[in-house]
């Protein structure tokens, strides 16, 4: 965790990609992490085949949650909606590329949770989710 805040993390934090809103999103979801107050919203544009053609996210929070959501947004474009719903935590951690302590896991996974929720049309959960705050 000594390489905790790599340059690209700070870059995504200060210049988030795909940040903002779509005019008429096909699927949306938002959630917050009550522990730190981080908030994230994902908006997806999906074509007739079920492929994600555009994506925006918005929100505020710590560098981990915002950078992780920003990096996730980059890998969603072109994916099938059903694959977004199956997007794994491991892939997010690979994206982030730094060691995440257990206390910060919720921050790193908030974007994923919201993107999956948008794809599923309901709140996504994982079994090891602990209550926060």
């Amino acid at each position: 965790m000594d390489d905790f805040y790599k340059e690209y993390i700070l870059d995504h934090y200060r210049n988030p990609r795909n940040f903002g809103h779509l005019d008429a999103p096909t699927a949306t979801a938002e959630d917050l992490n009550p522990l730190c107050g981080d908030k994230i919203r994902f908006e997806l544009q999906v074509d007739g085949d079920g492929r994600v053609t555009d994506v925006r996210f918005s929100g505020k929070g710590c560098a981990i949650s915002q950078a992780s959501a920003s990096m996730l947004s980059e890998s969603l474009k072109g994916e099938m909606l059903e694959d977004v719903a199956r997007f794994s935590q491991e892939r997010v951690l690979e994206n982030v590329g730094i060691g995440i302590s257990p206390a910060r896991m919720k921050c790193a996974m908030l974007g994923l949770k919201v993107a999956k929720s948008a794809a599923l049309g309901e709140i996504a959960h994982w079994p090891d989710e602990a209550p926060a705050g």
């Binding site: 805040y5 700070l10 705050g133």
Partner: protein
């Protein structure tokens, strides 16, 4: 002035074995989160071990020597806590799990029996959720109105319109010291005026009892609540102080064993104070250990604790000052005589959570988030703050470690 107390604090720190434990990275621990929970001195740890090794038995019912010893230790601890806050008698101290449970006890017992539609509960804008949510629910249940004393940008209570705010008030429920901003409430001004309109006053002493001498009779509070775990005691034990006349008139909260006088198939009569409010087997070991904790604090001297924390707060504010030009915002009262040893802050565009993670790399424990005061954070427009809080075992060295770590955080985040 500062040097001597600091030397004593360093000796006191040696009473707390956890503080000598380095982090997994081999860093010296600078524990600056005592507002969340305090560390425990060896005397308190020993008390727990001694109880389970030598005195463990269920209390009040046994006739054998061991049970008597447990009962004596348990009731002895109640007397120590009563003395610590200067209650008129031990029976005015009711054991609870913590501050939150004590507030709920008053809300369910006194509140449901005494509030009617149109009555007003007066609280403040800086309460911990524990002293807010129970009153929101009580207001919803009884049709009472929940009203707020406002705080200004420094977190100081606005009292200009207090007479107006007090109109129709049956209960004033407010904290003695804010866990987020450190604001010390002007109780000497508020309580007599609350009583003048016939209101009952509950004070949340979770952040005052550990840090300076509290005298419930001098304050003339009706109810006073605190948590053992923030005042060198174990988790799972706290207390409610109430004036006897009020407690006597209140219906029980939880019911069952121990809190009864006589039980028949048709009806039950209740035990006298304080046991009327202590249903089921109590948290005996932790109550006794809380007794050891207040003895420890009395031995140090609460006036010394308060003076030391004040000096350390002044020192910390001085050391933090140079960071202000680089974007450090320090919250809370500017007048140090109006604040306790709690410093909330934000640094440039570094989110408090990230800041706490970076400080943690250097062994500095601070809290980050909303500190269970979400409405206050909303009002102030802060998504989160980092919070350093001091106790009797903290030294200038802990502050220095915080300052060095803040410098590193500035490097990591490339703050100019």
């Amino acid at each position: 002035m500062i040097a001597e107390p600091d030397a004593r604090a360093a000796r006191i720190a040696a009473d707390f074995p956890l503080l000598a434990q380095p982090t997994s990275r081999g860093k010296r621990l600078a524990y600056l989160d005592s507002a969340a929970t305090s560390q425990k001195p060896q005397a308190v740890i020993d008390s727990l071990v001694h109880y389970y090794t030598h005195d463990n038995a269920n209390i009040h019912r046994g006739v054998y020597e061991l049970a008597e010893r447990a009962t004596d230790a348990f009731e002895g601890a109640r007397a120590k806590v009563a003395r610590f806050v200067n209650a008129a008698e031990p029976a005015e101290i009711v054991w609870t799990r913590n501050t939150t449970e004590a507030i709920n006890l008053v809300s369910f017992s006194w509140g449901l029996a005494n509030l009617e539609p149109g009555d007003v509960i007066l609280t403040t804008q800086l309460e911990h959720h524990s002293n807010l949510v129970p009153w929101q629910l009580l207001a919803a249940k009884t049709g009472a109105e929940l009203r707020y004393i406002e705080v200004d940008a420094e977190g100081l209570h606005v009292l200009d319109d207090l007479d107006e705010k007090l109109r129709g008030v049956k209960l004033v429920a407010m904290s003695h010291v804010s866990n987020t901003l450190g604001t010390i409430a002007p109780l000497a001004e508020i309580i007599p005026r609350a009583h003048a309109v016939g209101a009952v006053v509950l004070i949340d002493g979770a952040q005052s009892t550990p840090h300076f001498a509290v005298d419930v009779r001098a304050l003339d509070v009706d109810f006073f609540v605190a948590s053992g775990h923030k005042m060198c005691g174990p988790t799972g034990i706290g207390f409610l102080y109430g004036k006897r006349a009020l407690l006597d008139a209140m219906p029980p909260f939880l019911t069952g064993g121990d809190m009864i006088r006589e039980v028949g198939y048709e009806r039950t009569t209740f035990n006298e104070l304080p046991w009327k409010f202590e249903a089921g087997t109590s948290n005996i070991a932790d109550a006794i250990a809380l007794g050891a904790a207040v003895e420890y604090l009395e031995h140090i001297g609460m006036d010394w604790v308060a003076a030391h924390e004040r000096a350390l707060t002044v020192y910390a504010l001085e050391r933090l000052q140079p960071f202000v030009a680089r974007g450090l915002d320090i919250y809370g009262p500017k007048d140090v005589t109006k604040r306790s040893g709690v410093i909330s802050f934000n640094f440039a565009d570094i989110h408090a959570h990230d800041l706490a993670s970076i400080l943690d790399l250097d062994g500095v424990c601070v809290r980050a988030g909303h500190h269970c005061t979400m409405p206050l954070m909303d009002k102030m427009g802060w998504p989160a703050t980092a919070r350093a809080s001091f106790y009797l075992y903290n030294t200038e060295r802990d502050v220095d470690q915080l300052i060095v770590a803040l410098d590193k955080a500035a490097d990591v985040f490339k703050v100019a």
